[in-house]
């Protein structure tokens, strides 16, 4: 891993427009920063809009298989170590499902196990996704003690009627209380909000935002509710605001947050100075991450190339395989022809785009490989190419899908 490789330079005389023959595999000069993702797959109830890998516990009142999950995840980590040997971990994110269903003791066991096996940056950001319910809020302090230093609360809305339509199990008052409790223990709290909810008006969407702002939190994620296939909402969509009304909401939310001193640094993420989500920024700058737990995705670079893997998706299957050391459901090398798109798909979500040199260091390919696409994107007013940075224009941010499609290989 310590060996340095030299990035090949395009042969002289080759115009930027002529397609450059891509190297067989990416030539990475150094591994990118590493993050760890841990997936906890269970929820009390599955929300009708959610297409994440989440499952309800079978049988009412039956206990979560927390101990089995812990054991399996630790074994998963153990088995993955050779792939990330010697690399420092800069952030951890425990997501789900509803990981706040974990006991504080269980979480402590997990974080201890991670610290024992991986060199963790002393200032590592360790985020837990939490549901703003009463039961969970009671555990927030102990989570802090276990080492969690950032909490991400799935508030979605403060409006009981909206929450009901979204199938959430918490109410508006519970949400408010949960934020207060969270802020007492955590300096860094993110609130997830959704807009363009069924029958929601612009005023209602802004009211949710005002309530969230009143807590003075440093990070907000505002998502447009989308109908995902294979979800109840996908099958029978509720009456949501039309495209134009949703766009009005988005514009209003963005300008309100700008006025409140938030930087809109990614499609759906807003932060006060120095409050950005480091873990997510690592995804968006095409960093590496090891993903453990059911259905977790990982992306790892080595001198042999860039590999994506996914753990067994179904919790039962994952737990069953753990005993035999069988965790990985899918593993594949990302071809050099896919890398430019994958890089852009992440980095162009960022308002600031990326430093030009990042492309070569993360993909191991010369930037000339996408010269034609960059030129086309510029010509369509979607991309700004500076001397040492490349970033989406405002139009490019609004039409990010059109921008990204330019980098898709036919």
């Amino acid at each position: 891993m310590n060996e340095r490789r030299i990035i090949p330079i395009a042969p002289a005389g080759r115009g930027l427009d002529s397609p450059l023959p891509l190297p067989q595999r990416p030539q990475l000069s150094a591994p990118p920063p590493l993050a760890l993702y841990v997936h906890f797959p269970w929820c009390v109830r599955k929300c009708p809009y959610c297409d994440f890998n989440s499952h309800t516990v079978r049988g009412e009142g039956s206990p979560l298989p927390e101990a089995e999950w812990l054991q399996a995840v630790v074994a998963d980590l153990e088995a993955s170590l050779p792939q990330v040997w010697g690399r420092r971990v800069h952030s951890i994110f425990i997501g789900g499902g509803t990981p706040s269903l974990l006991s504080a003791a269980g979480l402590d066991t997990l974080l201890t196990a991670i610290r024992m096996r991986l060199p963790l940056d002393p200032l590592a950001e360790i985020t837990l996704e939490a549901n703003p319910g009463t039961v969970e809020a009671a555990r927030f302090r102990d989570y802090r003690a276990a080492g969690i230093n950032r909490l991400s609360l799935g508030i979605q809305s403060f409006d009981d009627a909206m929450l009901g339509r979204l199938g959430r199990i918490h109410g508006g008052d519970e949400a408010r209380r949960a934020i207060e409790i969270a802020q007492a223990s955590f300096e860094r709290v993110n609130l997830d909000l959704m807009y363009a909810l069924p029958e929601q008006s612009l005023a209602q969407a802004l009211a949710d935002l005002e309530t969230a702002l009143a807590f003075g939190t440093g990070h907000l994620s505002c998502y447009h509710l989308t109908m995902e296939p294979n979800t109840p909402f996908g099958h029978s969509p509720p009456p949501v605001p039309d495209e134009d009304a949703a766009a009005d909401m988005q514009d209003a939310i963005e300008s309100r947050l700008a006025a409140a001193g938030f930087e809109h640094y990614e499609t759906s993420a807003f932060a006060r100075p120095n409050q950005h989500s480091r873990h997510n920024l690592n995804y968006w700058s095409f960093g590496d991450y090891l993903g453990i737990g059911p259905g977790a995705h990982g992306k790892l670079s080595s001198h042999e190339g860039i590999v994506r893997e996914m753990r067994h998706k179904h919790p039962a299957r994952y737990l069953e395989g753990a005993a035999k050391g069988d965790f990985v459901q899918e593993r594949r090398e990302v071809g050099v022809e896919e890398l430019p798109f994958e890089f852009m798909m992440n980095t162009l979500r960022l308002t600031g785009g990326f430093q030009t040199s990042l492309f070569a260091s993360r993909t191991g390919l010369p930037l000339a490989a996408v010269a034609a696409e960059l030129k086309q994107a510029q010509a369509r007013g979607l991309l700004e190419v500076g001397s040492d940075f490349i970033r989406p224009t405002e139009r490019g941010r609004h039409f990010l899908n059109d921008l990204l499609q330019l980098f898709l290989k036919d």
């Binding site: 993702y37 994110f93 509710l225 495209e243 991450y289 992306k299 039409f399 990204l404 898709l408």
Partner: protein, 598 residues
């Protein structure tokens, strides 16, 4: 010759022609039970499905009559649709008699009448047969009355039968023997054989179905087509039983096939006369016409890479369909395709369906158009088969459009709405007659109105009870204009239509508003306009899309979002680019499929 009877069957679609033909063949033992496939004469899949006969075929039957003699009955099948009236007339010209089959539960329909008149004009003996008398709704008395009243044929001796049950089949055969005259002809005279039909066979080349009027023909004879003078060596003659059976010769009065090593179907035109090169007839049989396409449309492959495949498919179709014409055409909006000429709308439908079904082509078909005669200021007259090709109005002295005479049969309950429809379509009433519960309307109608949406409208205002037959009458000067559609300021050539000035604005509005609904919102506002020359008659705006972003890119999993973007991109690739605007195929298809969702 006294034991030969040549006859065909005249019937409206669904009145049981094919079933009756099957029964006659079966009765005479033309096919064994095993070979007996229902409706054997309709050999193409499509025909069986649509229940119509496209290519005329024939069957030579041996019938032992009650008088103890064996008769040779030649059944000559006729196409049953308005687009093929010329073929029908040639089939009838080859006969001495025709069975007029009328559904006893429904009565006379327009095409039956038209075909029956064609038969009577050619002195063909018409034998009325009332079919489907097994149905509870059968009303033979009424049907008999209509035949006499509408067609003017004595129906007192009409034969009652049911082709389905087999009832009355022997009576039908007896009537053919007794009432259809035996052919007259001189076996010693120079050969005159009428081409009833011709088609291409992969193994032997062109096969011609002929009726020998005078003379004799044997293999090794040198034959000559009287319209073109082309000569070929006759290789084989025979008859269809309906299986093909070789014969040593065909003589005056007989119906059979000729194979002469011909590669091009166009050489063997329906209605032409074949004679012997060594001993030619003095003059050909009357009635031969070069048939010309009446309806034109552009056919484009949905995938532009399938252009060559489309050409190959069209060429294969033309092997068996001399009336199909096509030539390459380029549209800015649709790319490379072909301008195709058809006998009529049904013919066009059939070709389209065969291309899609047998050749697996995905097609975009532009709105069908008729052929206009355009007189230029220079005095020159040109024929326009594609609205986009109409010269600038400044150069045009006048435009003439084809007028047809349409005969419509319908129950009197629907007379009001049908007359309204005809007037709306610029029709001029020629005649209206009541025949019992049926009404016969005769209108002169501009053909472009008919190809637009007349059939569909007629069907809907009469709840499917009206039947229509038409024939070309003349070209007439009319106040016609070209209506263009512009998307984002760019003319979409494939959507141009020629319409009457009076309806241009209405039609322009209709098309523009339909396009507005069908074109997805883009990254910018898009104007949809309808224009006559530089004069805009309608305008709609497709408001710009505000955003196209995926809100959440879930942590590590990029695969699903990537798939979604790939799908979006794939969708765009299937769109046609007009200027900056991406127009989905569906938009073309829906606009071109005029009015049907109204």
């Amino acid at each position: 010759m006294q034991h030969i009877r040549n006859f065909s069957i005249i019937a409206h679609i669904d009145h049981g022609k094919s079933t009756l033909a099957d029964r006659l063949i079966q009765y005479c033992g033309g096919l064994s039970e095993r070979e007996m496939e229902s409706q054997v004469l309709d050999s193409m899949d499509l025909e069986r499905e649509r229940g119509i006969t496209i290519k005329a075929q024939t069957a030579a039957l041996h019938y032992r009559a009650r008088d103890g003699q064996v008769y040779n009955l030649n059944l000559i099948d006729t196409p049953g649709h308005v687009d093929f009236s010329y073929e029908v007339s040639r089939s009838l010209a080859a006969c001495e008699g025709a069975l007029l089959v009328v559904d006893a539960s429904q009565g006379v329909e327009a095409q039956t009448v038209a075909n029956c008149y064609t038969a009577l004009e050619q002195d063909v003996e018409v034998v009325p047969v009332l079919n489907k008398i097994d149905l509870p709704a059968a009303d033979p008395e009424n049907a008999r009355g209509e035949i006499e009243d509408v067609i003017g044929v004595d129906a007192s001796e009409a034969i009652l039968c049911s082709a389905k049950t087999g009832l009355g089949i022997e009576e039908v055969l007896e009537a053919i023997v007794a009432r259809v005259p035996a052919p007259k002809g001189d076996t010693q005279a120079p050969l005159k054989a009428l081409i009833i039909d011709s088609w291409f066979d992969n193994y032997v080349g062109v096969v011609m179905l002929v009726r020998v009027v005078d003379g004799q023909l044997r293999p090794k004879d040198k034959i000559q087509f009287m319209s073109s003078g082309l000569q070929y060596l006759c290789e084989q003659v025979g008859v269809f039983t309906p299986k093909s059976v070789g014969r040593e010769q065909l003589s005056a009065g007989e119906v059979g096939f000729i194979i002469a090593g011909i590669k091009e179907l166009e050489a063997a035109k329906v209605g032409d006369t074949i004679t012997l090169a060594g001993k030619p007839a003095a003059e050909p049989l009357p009635g031969f016409k070069e048939i010309k396409p009446q309806v034109f449309a552009g056919l484009y492959p949905v995938e532009s890479s399938e252009y060559d495949q489309l050409r190959d498919s069209l060429e294969k179709l033309r092997l068996n369909d001399a009336s199909l014409q096509f030539e390459p055409e380029v549209s800015q909006a649709l790319g490379f395709g072909f301008r195709c000429g058809f006998l009529g709308l049904l013919h066009m439908d059939i070709v389209q369906e065969r291309l899609e079904r047998e050749f697996d082509m995905d097609l975009i078909t532009t709105a069908p158009t008729v052929v206009y005669e355009v007189v230029l200021n220079s005095g020159e007259t040109i024929r326009i088969e594609n609205p986009a090709k109409l010269p600038d109005t400044g150069k045009v002295a006048e435009i003439r459009e084809p007028i047809i005479t349409a005969t419509i049969f319908l129950p009197q309950d629907y007379v009001g709405p049908v007359i309204t429809l005809c007037n709306l379509k610029r029709g001029v009433q020629v005649d209206m007659r009541y025949h019992g519960r049926q009404v016969q309307l005769i209108y002169d109608l501009p053909m472009n109105e008919v190809v637009m949406d007349f059939f569909d409208k007629l069907k809907s205002v009469s709840r499917g009870y009206a039947s229509l037959d038409y024939e070309f009458k003349e070209y007439r000067t009319a106040d016609l204009v070209k209506l263009d559609l512009l998307v984002g300021g760019e003319k979409v050539d494939a959507l141009s239509v020629i319409v009457h000035r009076a309806s241009a604005q209405y039609r322009g509005r209709e098309l523009a508003s339909k396009l507005r609904e069908l074109i997805p919102r883009q990254m910018f506002d898009v104007a949809v306009q309808a224009a006559i020359g530089s004069h805009i008659v309608a305008r709609e705006t497709i408001k710009a899309l505000r955003k196209n972003v995926l809100a959440k890119c879930y942590g590590g999993d990029i695969t699903r979002k990537k798939k979604l973007l790939e799908k979006q991109k794939e969708g765009k690739k299937r769109m046609k680019q007009v200027g900056n605007v991406e127009i989905p195929q569906e938009a073309f298809l829906a606009v071109l499929r005029v009015d049907d969702n109204k």
